[in-house]
Symmetry: C2
């Protein structure tokens, strides 16, 4: 394995189950149990796969009845550590950065974005504070607020430099929106994200 970041594909499906279960809980308050058969059908997945995933996450269901919705939600949240909220800052508050800054959904999955840093922090209104970028400020802020995730939305020319800075400050989890493959020590996790790349998968990978 030459890259960091887990590939375990169960993690791609667990949030889908979680979201689905929460929706059922809201829209069908009378439903207490849900079968893997139904979930599979409505989520367009194989039913054996759903059962295998659930058995790994939340132990067992009841034959002829299914899985307890509430317990399922609780178990998946535990498995995904959703309740273990981590604090994050965004470096680079351009278009994408500011969208992420205001995207409260993330908190449901364990990430609380508390502030942003940008070379130009003027004239912008967000619901979270945005500070002027300076190494000293970032250092102080990260230490004072127990930040342990950094979201990188900076231009690619400065990506590796900013990365080196935050790694030197002890950050171990980086959500990387730049197209650069960051060089980091082996104990630092980098999750690469790139919407442009998704586009080419969508447009070329099919048909």
């Amino acid at each position: 394995m030459l890259q960091n970041a887990t590939k375990k594909s169960i993690y791609k499906r667990l949030p889908i189950y979680l979201d689905y279960c929460k929706t059922i809980l809201e829209t069908e308050p009378e439903t207490k149990y849900i079968s893997s058969t139904r979930m599979a059908e409505e989520l367009f997945l194989g039913e054996v796969q759903v059962r295998k995933d659930l058995s790994k996450t939340c132990g067992s269901g009841k034959p002829k009845i299914g899985y307890s919705l509430k317990y399922l939600i609780q178990s998946i949240e535990e498995y995904l550590k959703c309740k273990d909220i981590r604090k994050a800052v965004i470096i680079g508050v351009g278009k994408l950065g500011s969208a992420i800054l205001g995207f409260d959904e993330l908190k449901k999955y364990g990430l609380d974005v508390i502030a942003g840093f940008d070379t130009n922090a003027e004239n912008k209104k967000y619901n979270k504070p945005v500070y002027t970028y300076s190494q000293e400020k970032i250092k102080t802020y990260i230490e004072d607020n127990n930040v342990d995730v950094v979201i990188m939305c900076v231009p690619k020319k400065v990506a590796q430099d900013v990365c080196n800075l935050i790694v030197s400050l002890g950050i171990k989890i980086i959500w990387n929106f730049t197209p650069i493959r960051l060089k980091v020590p082996s104990d630092v996790i980098v999750q690469n994200e790139n919407l442009a790349y998704s586009v080419s998968i969508m447009l070329a990978g099919n048909n």
Copy 2:
């Protein structure tokens, strides 16, 4: 296979190679050939994997020399159909929607986002037009402008309805940012995207 959307993992790496090659072309104008060994090392990939990917996309390199940078870029762009630009509209111009609306990078990979639709199109300034949402307007716009991709950023309650509408208008490619697993005919491609899900992969999937 119960889902649409390709899984072929080569498509995840091709944009990485492409981006890398373009960067080398810019920063080292004297470099004409690049070896799979070097690419692998700098991109943290296996060298055999790089060679296999390249052999699929662009035929062959030269032993002891490597692959022609220019030809590599050209071949990958062809393989990814980057030059075959498709027009897209965004439905739902909230925070994320407006970030995507202004994200010109996408065009490099074959997607030109030309307009947005929202129930509330007032008081917002974008560099692309945003129209008030109405079924009739969307229909006319899509037909008049040969739109063939729709980017869905609507609230989840209306996701399936909006989806049904655009499918009825003949749209065959949907980039879905809602957490709903859309039900579509088998000839429609849905690419599901969800930043919140990526977070849980990052936070739970590791350590």
